[in-house]
């Protein structure tokens, strides 16, 4: 199993993502945003942070990078891709996932340990998790309010594309339908605002996030 973790100017969580991938199992390496070749990796992580300072709109500039073009091809071929936080924003901006992420309704950054309820989505990323299972994972972002126009939202929900919801009453940003993470129709691309890569060691809070990375390995990718 070889993991590729994208790195843009302004990425912050790429080293944590590498660490999470390695703990889950396999080899992990950085992919520079300027590279249009993913180097044969088996799964891609678009990590969190503030690519290009989050200027203009979070994720709006990073989506144009050569590496993202390669990720789009990789995803179209069914390769597993996870976008975490800023990575989720990049995936939405680039059209690999539906919807958009708006500034939190509080207009403030929020950072806390959150509870995620596993949704109905069928995806290699959630293959090790039962729907309804609750994960303890950090939530930290400024623009995490998931939005999609009514018809698109309806499709996401009824089409079984919701991968994670904030547990009832704990929606931190005003996301529609408490959505914390979604997958594409095919299920191979996952985007989520909370940070499973920061939940890989009980010492620093929880190891619940590892199940997401291990899911991909268990699903026989790579």
């Amino acid at each position: 199993m070889v993991w590729g973790v994208l790195q843009f100017p302004g990425s912050c969580d790429e080293r944590d993502a590498l660490n999470a991938c390695r703990l889950a199992g396999g080899e992990a390496r950085l992919i520079w945003h300027d590279d249009d070749d993913l180097g044969g990796v088996d799964a891609v992580v678009v990590p969190g942070g503030f690519s290009y300072g989050d200027y203009l709109r979070a994720g709006s500039i990073a989506r144009f990078s050569p590496a993202m073009e390669a990720v789009a091809r990789f995803a179209a071929d069914g390769g597993p891709v996870i976008g975490i936080c800023n990575g989720f924003q990049v995936l939405c901006e680039s059209g690999l996932l539906p919807g958009a992420l708006l500034p939190n309704d509080s207009t403030r950054f929020t950072c806390h340990q959150g509870e995620l309820v596993v949704g109905e989505a069928e995806s290699p990323w959630t293959s090790a998790l039962e729907p309804g299972h609750v994960l303890s994972v950090p939530v930290k972002h400024q623009s995490g309010r998931f939005f999609a126009p009514p018809d698109v939202l309806e499709e996401i929900v009824s089409g079984g594309q919701v991968a994670f919801r904030y547990s009832p009453g704990s929606n931190p940003n005003g996301s529609l339908d408490d959505i914390a993470g979604i997958v594409n129709r095919e299920g191979n691309v996952l985007g989520l605002m909370p940070h499973p890569e920061h939940a890989v060691d009980p010492l620093t809070g929880s190891e619940d996030g590892l199940a997401i990375f291990r899911g991909v390995i268990g699903a026989g990718v790579g």
Partner: protein
């Protein structure tokens, strides 16, 4: 850049029907500052630039400056 560069102004607004958190925050702050009689506050982005070919700015808005899913935009080409 040639001298032909034209000043272009792009007004980007949150789309109707989408909660504008910043606008709401401004509205909430108004009474304490003694500003009654101010309503319907919407906060968006203003991008100004100089373009050789202003016709391409619509494309730039679609691709980069605005996200049509959540934002409307309006392009004004300013005379010098």
């Amino acid at each position: 850049m040639g001298d032909g560069g034209k000043k272009v102004r792009v007004l980007i607004r949150p789309r109707e029907g989408i909660l504008d958190a910043q606008g709401k925050a401004v509205e909430r702050a108004l009474p304490a500052l003694g500003f009654d009689g101010v309503e319907q506050v919407r906060v968006g982005r203003l991008v100004e630039l100089v373009a050789d070919d202003p016709d391409r700015i619509d494309d730039l808005c679609q691709k980069l400056l605005a996200n049509p899913l959540i934002e409307d935009y309006e392009i004004e080409i300013l005379d010098d």
